[in-house]
């Protein structure tokens, strides 16, 4: 019974995360300004990382957790770089 519960809850969580990714993608495509698109990208990478974590729980494979950490790190750096670029027009001064 508990196995069934966890399988269904993982499926539900993955559907919700996929929906959240679709919403973030909509903001990237539609976003009126560049800042909105960067925000959409930020939301997208967080949800993608959570999707990978959900896959990791489903398959009981630890590789997904390393991947999630790397995505979190690179996503943070990229959104900082984007914000800096929007603020100054250059990244490395």
């Amino acid at each position: 019974m508990t196995e069934l519960a966890i399988l269904w809850s993982i499926l539900l969580a993955q559907v919700m995360l996929a929906l959240a990714m679709a919403f973030a993608l909509y903001r990237i495509v539609k976003g009126p300004h560049a800042q909105d698109r960067v925000l959409g990208l930020d939301a997208l990478y967080i949800n993608a990382m959570l999707m990978l974590v959900a896959f990791g729980v489903r398959t009981a494979n630890t590789v997904y957790f390393e991947t999630a950490l790397i995505i979190a790190l690179l996503g943070f750096v990229s959104s900082i770089a984007f914000a800096k670029f929007l603020m100054r027009g250059e990244i490395i001064e």
């Binding site: 993982i10 909509y26 959570l50 959104s79 800096k84």
Partner: protein, 119 residues
Amino acid sequence: MGGQIEAIITLLVALIMIVGASFSLLAALGVIRFPDLYTRMHAASKAGTVGSGLLLFAAGLHSLDPAIFARALAAFVFFVLTAPISAHLLAKAAHQAGYRMSRLSVIDQLPQKEEARSL
């Protein structure tokens, strides 16, 4: 007895996972529905952090392995540290570039440069 505890942990993981995913979904809904960048960012960085924290906690709990749990905890701490930084920097960039708040917002206490080009 041991089996019972494992069953309880599994049900708890299922519950936390659904709650965390709903928080993430609500954050993304806020990113779509709010009128301007600042309110959208408010939804994304607060609810997004809660959602990711709950999901990572659930994943760490499910593995029943201290190494994995430490990794999930590290990822969560990293998120708590970095989400405000990126949100703040992006909001500052937007404000400096002259991104106006929506007409629904009440007051903007950060002085805006007059010559800033309006987006």
